[in-house]
Symmetry: C2
Subunit: 106 residues, 2 copies
DNA sequence: CTCATCGGTAAGTAGCTACTAACCGTAAGT
DNA sequence: ACTTACGGTTAGTAGCTACTTACCGATGAG
């Protein structure tokens, strides 16, 4: 399984995106993340595991709590994938427009 | 269902990404896209439908063929989502580093 | 040494999704 | 008009996945 694949899979689930977005404002322990979400805490743990494997989050221990924070590594991989795509897409689009212009020079 | 949700769902499936990436080199008819892929042509049609609903591809008729091409709209939505995230993630990370530095000034 | 809190893990299940096979409509060639 | 090529749609199914419940280890307070 490629790295980009893991990132996409991780961000595909709405609940998991909610978990991830909750970390945007700063690091949080698991319980605090789970609070307010419509799923149980174990579910959040499982989501965090997936996010971590995708390189989207990382954690550190602090007493009995585990503080999770965003890891830019995953976002970077995704952005790289997207950028590599962006150029090709725009190039193809430009070619398309050029062809259309030749066909219908108004 | 939000628009970003549709883009993520569309790009989540490996086969669907393969379909999408095949259009990076330029517009292609359905049959040509399906050729070489390990799935049948109807499956490709279904994938194209999902990609189209996500704003990632669009199509035009040319005789009995349907030529599919990349639609930048979907990629733009995804990039917007990512960028909006990017800043928050980096800000949080910077805050983190700052805190760690204060704790362990080496 | 208890006892409570925090959180990761295992097992089992309901719901979704990607796939194939069969079918149908449409456009172009003869 | 007949035939062929192209491709979208439907019905049915196998496999995956997000969820809950129950359990367990670890840390800190008293």
């Amino acid at each position: 399984m490629t790295n980009a694949q893991r990132v996409f899979t991780a961000l595909n689930d709405p609940t998991r995106r909610a978990v991830f977005e909750r970390l945007r404002d700063g690091p949080r322990p698991v319980g605090e993340i789970a609070q307010g979400l419509p799923v149980t805490r174990p579910a959040v743990s499982q989501h965090l595991k997936v996010l971590k494997e995708a390189g989207l989050v990382d954690d550190r221990s602090e007493g009995t709590r585990r503080i999770y924070h965003i890891d830019p590594k995953g976002l970077g991989a995704m952005r790289a994938w997207l950028d590599q795509f962006w150029d090709g897409a725009l190039t193809a689009l430009a070619t398309e427009i050029e062809k259309d212009t030749k066909k219908e020079p108004k």
